[in-house]
């Protein structure tokens, strides 16, 4: 077991290499650039490919081409770059091309700033691309999980023949923590659909154009069934002290770590508090939140976002059973004390103290 000290972004890059990623196509942007820098140094040494594309659009379409050959490939960017890649992500989803897309979030909208953010939740979970599609979105909360979820992401991408997104805050991308290096993946699924040269067989074609109405409908029906399978199989979450909780925090990524400290502090004060951490932002753990809403008195969405975005999924999940409150701001990572103070106000409002 080899332990090293890595930035979250470095852990993603190393995890990708250990997962068998053979090509990285990207365009650097703070706070994700360390991923490209790491890949630029490592990929040539392992016989892989690193391309700094001329734009984010070029990069995501290189991912399309690379994934079509059956190799594990990836790209990484931040909010503005992910916005530009959305058209390509729609094509990847329809082309059923497995790949990993990393979003290390910074503040928006527009160019925004390079400070931390979780305000890419909508574009990660709902997409900005056209058509009926979903992709799995994983939200790590430590440098170790940046590595582990990267490896998991490639596995899920191959399993479902789908793009997978890993979404984390700029804080986590730049946070240096100890990481246990995982063993490299040595066994990969067969990809008989891949474009590898058709000598001796019928050509494989990756195509997203379906002109006849019946073909378009059949294609969408098939994809819908695949998304249902993802929903049934891939929901991941973590519960922390929710059994007797009156007040349940819902937080993901680095905010889940901070929220855990808040839960413990609030309980010391006498407020029965718990935490639900969605690990997959899509598929979202709707059922888990709905069940918890039957016993708790209120929920609080904690996000690095000014308006709140995940809060809409919490409302969908809980179906009006409990009041939903919000704590959040963009541009900085709040500490546990700050959140606890706001939580006390909410607890008082709900008659819990």
């Amino acid at each position: 077991m080899q332990r090293v000290l890595m930035k979250g972004n470095e852990a993603i890059a190393e995890g990708a290499i250990r997962a068998g990623c053979k090509a990285f196509f990207g365009y650097p942007i703070t706070p994700s650039s360390e991923i490209a820098e790491y890949m630029a140094r490592k990929m040539p040494a392992i016989g892989g490919v690193f391309v700094q594309a001329e734009s984010e659009l070029a990069a995501i379409n290189m991912v399309y081409g690379g994934a079509a050959t059956g190799f594990r490939v990836m790209t990484a960017s931040s909010g503005p770059g992910i916005s530009l890649k959305q058209e390509g992500i729609s094509f990847l989803a329809e082309g059923e091309l497995p790949c990993l897309i990393v979003d290390i979030c910074r503040g928006g909208p527009g160019l925004g700033g390079i400070q931390p953010s979780q305000a890419d939740y909508f574009q990660a979970t709902r997409g900005g691309g056209h058509g009926d599609y979903y992709i799995i979105v994983l939200a790590p909360s430590s440098a170790q999980e940046m590595m582990d979820f990267t490896m998991l992401g490639f596995e899920l991408a191959d399993k479902h023949r789908s793009p997978v997104m890993l979404m984390a805050e700029g804080t986590l991308g730049n946070l240096i923590e100890p990481v246990v290096l995982r063993n490299p993946v040595t066994e990969f699924v067969d990809k008989p659909w891949a474009i590898t040269g058709c000598k001796g067989r019928q050509p494989n074609i990756v195509n997203t154009l379906h002109m006849p109405v019946e073909e378009l409908q059949a294609r969408n029906k098939y994809l819908t069934q695949k998304y249902e399978a993802m929903r049934a199989q891939e929901v991941r979450y973590e519960e922390f002290l929710i059994e007797d909780a009156d007040l349940i925090l819902v937080a993901y990524g680095i905010m889940a770590r901070i929220a855990k400290k808040v839960v413990l502090t609030a309980r010391e004060i006498g407020i029965k508090t718990g935490l639900i951490r969605p690990i997959t932002l899509w598929p979202y753990p709707y059922g888990v939140l709905n069940k918890a809403a039957q016993t708790c008195k209120a929920m609080v969405s904690v996000e690095i976002s000014t308006t709140g975005q995940m809060i809409e999924d919490i409302r969908l999940a809980t179906e009006g059973k409990v009041p939903i409150h919000y704590i959040g701001e963009i541009g900085r990572t709040p500490n546990p004390e700050e959140i606890t103070q706001q939580l006390l106000v909410i607890a008082e409002k709900e008659g819990l103290r």
């Binding site: 332990r3 090293v4 000290l5 890595m6 470095e10 190393e14 942007i29 703070t30 706070p31 650039s33 820098e37 790491y38 140094r41 700033g113 390079i114 400070q115 931390p116 700029g170 804080t171 991308g173 730049n174 946070l175 240096i176 923590e177 100890p178 770590r257 901070i258 400290k261 990572t333 500490n335 546990p336």
Partner: protein, 180 residues
């Protein structure tokens, strides 16, 4: 240079308590998406005060080094490589040799010392320090660089002094978030 995350300027208040003036990009430029240097740094260098320039051990850092060293009297320059062997590209001899060559090329000045800084943050134990420091010792010897310090936190200071003697320096960490 182009990141607002966990940077020395976050410790400006602590440093000022020790009469250390922090020079860093300020106002909006502090959050610029491009490398930028703090205004006034050349003037400060020319005032012949004691200055610590904290550079990343990569090409971006080397570029800044190359720019600044032409304003520094080489007689006064001490160029130290701080090596944590548990960080990426810091264990293999070849990686460190490449970094040394790059820094010396940009600085037009030899590296004058190596500081051993072996740790795994909260996972550090004394064995981690010993193993890492022995490795840095070997690299420094092969590279012909004097080892000028071994940095440890107060939890390991006494034990490290017994093992490694006067080379040990105690450091305090100020940039680790307390929610970790």
């Amino acid at each position: 240079m182009a990141s607002p995350y966990f940077v020395s300027r976050d410790a400006v208040r602590v440093l000022s308590q020790y009469n250390i003036e922090m020079m860093a990009p300020d106002n909006a430029m502090a959050y610029g998406d491009i490398p930028n240097l703090p205004p006034g740094i050349i003037g400060t260098i020319r005032r012949n005060t004691n200055i610590v320039v904290d550079l990343a051990g990569d090409k971006a850092g080397a570029l800044v080094l190359g720019y600044l060293t032409k304003f520094i009297n080489p007689v006064d320059l001490r160029l130290y490589m701080v090596i944590n062997p548990y960080r990426p590209f810091s264990w293999e001899l070849q990686d460190i040799a490449e970094l040394k060559a790059m820094l010396e090329c940009f600085a037009q000045h030899p590296v004058t010392g190596m500081v051993s800084n072996p740790h795994l943050a909260e996972d550090t134990d004394f064995e981690v320090i010993v193993k890492g420091h022995r490795h840095v010792q070997e690299i420094a010897a092969i590279q012909g660089i004097p080892l000028v310090g071994l940095t440890v936190t107060d939890a390991f200071y006494h034990e490290a002094c017994l093992e490694f003697g006067e080379i040990v320096k105690q450091i305090n960490l100020y940039l680790r978030p307390d929610w970790l």
